[in-house]
């Protein structure tokens, strides 16, 4: 197999895919769900239900506000207990709808059969409308509203659809499970997205540590215009810019988007959600979440309703191990640490990772010995050691000219530093300050 990968930098952390090959297990309904109205990038949706209302599964409970926004649906049937601020995975209290689960009462318009609908009769515009109505966002973690990405800006031409099946984060296996068990639907979803975008060509990128998924996707894509490409295992290949470069040798410009080189990238989970929305009338009310950790009794791939508390997932995976010191929403490289298990699963939750005390502790910070490892691994061609020292000295203008805003925050520098220096922490600080300076400059 001809193995492609991105050309600059990258690391290979231990994979620890504990839940690899496990069947997707549908999680029983919890008693209460909390559904935040801001689960996507852009404006929060506007709540349209009230305390005491009865809602059905798939009913819109908060409506899209503005262009970059999307709808939020009830993932359960039951009674609205409260419309209030609840803590979400960011650690802040944000507007959400709390619903008491009662029975399983679905919206009648949803096609709940297992019949595969391969052909989409709808045109591009109608597809985008359905995707907006169904509340589809990028399920790889960035949660950018999908209907916006399907609108090619004036002056740009979309040539390729790229489907991200890389799943380069250690531990996570949700996308792998989808490609193995929902292969036909994922493929049909790719066709939907191609039609929505108006492109003729699509490439699915999958890392070579999932040979079974590569094979299955190749079988289903045979004879179509969808190409399946195995990739050499290297983090952060799932980064949009890295993936586009690995597959097409095209470099997204600094400050630009993949569409600048004729490409739009979606995650495999997003493809499945697009299929559900367009061909089955089913809004985004659940997703596959990997629950994992070395001490966890039963690492799992759960199909979870949006709004289910994280504590419920952990309980169903064998309970919280005694040595847990850190809970990560996402993978170990880019995931966010949670302060409590009492937060809901949202559209962007790809995994819950439990880390022990020994692994969670940061090591003592030693002086930089200029070993060049951070420069060598940076996939964006930046110099993390320099960024950190500039950030410490508050030299933000120089950071701007050194292209700090190109940083994708993949964490390869901090991961690789033999002196355990908090490189990315300081780079983030610098990015925020540079952002402020640039906004101030624009305001003048």
């Amino acid at each position: 197999m001809n193995l492609k990968t991105f050309s600059r930098g990258g690391v290979h952390p231990p994979e620890h895919k504990l839940s690899s090959g496990l069947a997707i297990e549908e999680l029983p309904l919890p008693e209460v769900v909390v559904i935040p109205v801001s689960q996507h990038l852009g404006a929060p949706a506007k709540v349209i239900v009230d305390r005491g209302d009865q809602v059905k599964i798939g009913q819109v409970i908060a409506q899209s506000e503005g262009f970059v926004s999307t709808n939020i649906h009830s993932s359960v049937s039951g009674k609205v207990l409260k419309v209030d601020k609840f803590m979400d995975s960011s650690g802040y209290r944000k507007m959400a709808v709390q619903i008491q689960v009662e029975g399983e009462d679905w919206e009648e318009t949803i096609d709940r059969t297992d019949d595969l609908v391969r052909n989409t009769v709808l045109k591009s515009e109608a597809i985008r409308k359905k995707i907006l109505e169904a509340g589809i966002v990028g399920l790889g973690g960035a949660t950018f509203p999908t209907h916006v990405k399907l609108m090619v800006p004036k002056g740009k031409i979309a040539e390729y659809l790229i489907i991200n099946g890389v799943e380069c984060e250690p531990y996570l296996t949700a996308d792998h499970a989808l490609m193995m068990q929902r292969t036909e639907e994922v493929f049909a979803g790719i066709l939907v997205l191609m039609k929505g975008l108006g492109v003729e060509k699509a490439i699915v990128g999958i890392e070579n540590n999932k040979p079974d998924a590569i094979l299955k996707m190749k079988q289903v894509a045979k004879g179509s215009k969808v190409q399946v490409q195995g990739l050499k295992v290297k983090y952060p290949q799932g980064g949009e810019k890295q993936l586009v470069q690995a597959l097409l040798k095209r470099e997204v410009p600094s400050g630009g988007l993949p569409i600048d080189v004729g490409v739009v990238v979606f995650n495999v989970g997003t493809a499945l959600a697009a299929y559900d929305a367009v061909n089955k009338n089913r809004p985004l009310i659940d997703r596959v979440v990997t629950v994992t950790g070395k001490s966890l009794e039963k690492p799992s791939n759960f199909l979870v309703r949006i709004g289910t508390p994280v504590s419920y997932l952990v309980e169903k995976a064998g309970g919280l191990p005694g040595d847990t010191a850190k809970v990560i929403n996402g993978g170990p490289m880019m995931g966010k640490a949670l302060s409590t298990l009492d937060v809901p699963v949202v559209k962007g939750s790809s995994g819950i990772l439990l880390i022990s005390e020994a692994e969670a502790r940061r090591k003592e910070v030693l002086p930089c010995i200029r070993c060049t490892k951070c420069v060598t691994v940076c996939p964006m061609g930046l110099e993390p050691y320099l960024m950190m020292s500039l950030s410490e000295k508050a030299r933000y203008e120089r950071m701007e000219s050194e292209k700090v805003l190109d940083c994708i925050e993949c964490g390869s520098c901090s991961y690789t530093c033999p002196s355990s220096r908090p490189l990315l922490d300081y780079i983030r600080l610098g990015k925020a300050e540079v952002g402020k300076i640039m906004r101030a400059r624009k305001a003048v």
């Binding site: 600094s254 600048d260 850190k326 640490a337 302060s339 969670a360 010995i369 060598t376 110099e383 190109d406």
Partner: protein, 330 residues
């Protein structure tokens, strides 16, 4: 309620650490150390032990009593400085001179700049050049190999490079070559020279180990050695009576030790691969210029120190290739 640690990503780290890297370098120096003990016996053992002990002690004393910080004398870096300093001294040099060299290496070379990670010049070479200027006679009396029990009383002679430099005043290369050790001896290290620099073979084994462990990349050693080979090759082809052949230049003097272990010092070498090649080519060119046109038979020590001084400039102007072309943001 559970109390969880909350910190920004990443949440996982490599097993690599500064001490592990340092001890990796030390392991890669062991073959050369073994060969040198075999050739120079007790002298090598005394010089090496005194050098290592003094470097560690001076680092401790300076950090503890002058800088008043937590001493880091056991992080492996002082040990490497001590080993490398011993490697570039003759094995019959009096121990008190070694101690002065160690004080110059750690004190002037490293601690004056703020300690590990901040120094501009390679500490071991600072120590060596300090001794070279202070004690020129002791620093150019090279013991003959095989005198196991002799230390300062060892019989001495000239290095192959020294023989070449002096001989060329009145002889051709062709007339000098029969007097210098054979190719096999140059490779194995049976010749006169600084204690640790003699065995090209043992040093190359160390280089391969460091590359295998990914402690160093090929860029610096290969660009230095290739430059010396090409430059001396051109000179040799132009006038084989006046200039020695490239293989002679590769296998003699401190070139291997310098290219593999001194020039690759993390702290004092450039941060990008492109910068490393500029640095390596520069060191190669200056080494050959000093050896063939300068006053000293050997120039690698000066060449490395000069380009150590250029490293901050190289870092400032030689940048890695950034991802993506620039476009103006709407």
């Amino acid at each position: 309620m559970n109390k969880f640690i909350v910190s920004p990503s990443p949440h996982t780290y490599t097993d690599e650490s500064v001490p592990k890297l340092m001890y990796g370098v030390i392991i890669s120096l062991l073959p050369a150390l073994a060969v040198s003990v075999w050739f120079f016996g007790i002298g090598m053992i005394v010089v090496t032990s005194v050098s290592i002990a003094s470097c560690i002690l001076f680092e401790y004393l300076i950090q503890r009593y002058m800088m008043k910080v937590k001493p880091s004398h056991l992080d492996g870096s002082a040990l490497i400085t001590g080993l490398l300093l011993a490697f570039c001294l003759p094995a019959n040099i009096p121990f008190w001179m070694v101690m002065i060299g160690a004080l110059a290496a750690v004190g002037i070379g490293k601690m004056t700049f703020g300690g590990l990670g901040n120094n501009i010049f390679n500490p071991a070479l600072v120590g060596r050049v300090f001794l070279f200027i202070s004690f020129p006679v002791a620093m150019t009396a090279w013991p003959e190999a095989g005198q196991w029990m002799q230390y300062t009383d060892a019989v001495t002679g000239a290095t192959p490079l020294g023989m070449m430099k002096e001989g060329l005043a009145f002889k051709t290369v062709g007339e000098i070559m029969p007097e210098v050790p054979s190719f096999l001896h140059l490779l194995s290290g049976k010749m006169m020279g600084s204690s640790g620099e003699v065995s090209a073979l043992a040093l190359l084994v160390g280089m391969l180990y460091m590359m295998y462990r990914k402690i160093i990349s090929w860029h610096i050693p290969v660009s230095i050695l290739a430059t010396v080979f090409v430059f001396t090759g051109v000179l040799w082809l132009a006038n084989p009576d006046r200039f020695a052949d490239p293989l002679f230049h590769l296998l003699t003097g401190g070139l291997m030790l310098g290219a593999i272990f001194m020039a690759t010092d993390y702290v004092t070498s450039p941060m990008t691969h492109k910068g490393m090649i500029i640095y390596g080519v520069g060191i190669g060119v200056v080494t050959v210029l000093i050896r063939t046109f300068g006053a000293y038979p050997e120039g690698v020590q000066f060449a490395i120190l000069i380009f150590n001084g250029f490293t901050p400039l190289i870092n400032k102007f030689v940048k890695p290739k950034r991802f993506g072309k620039e476009v103006s943001r709407g």
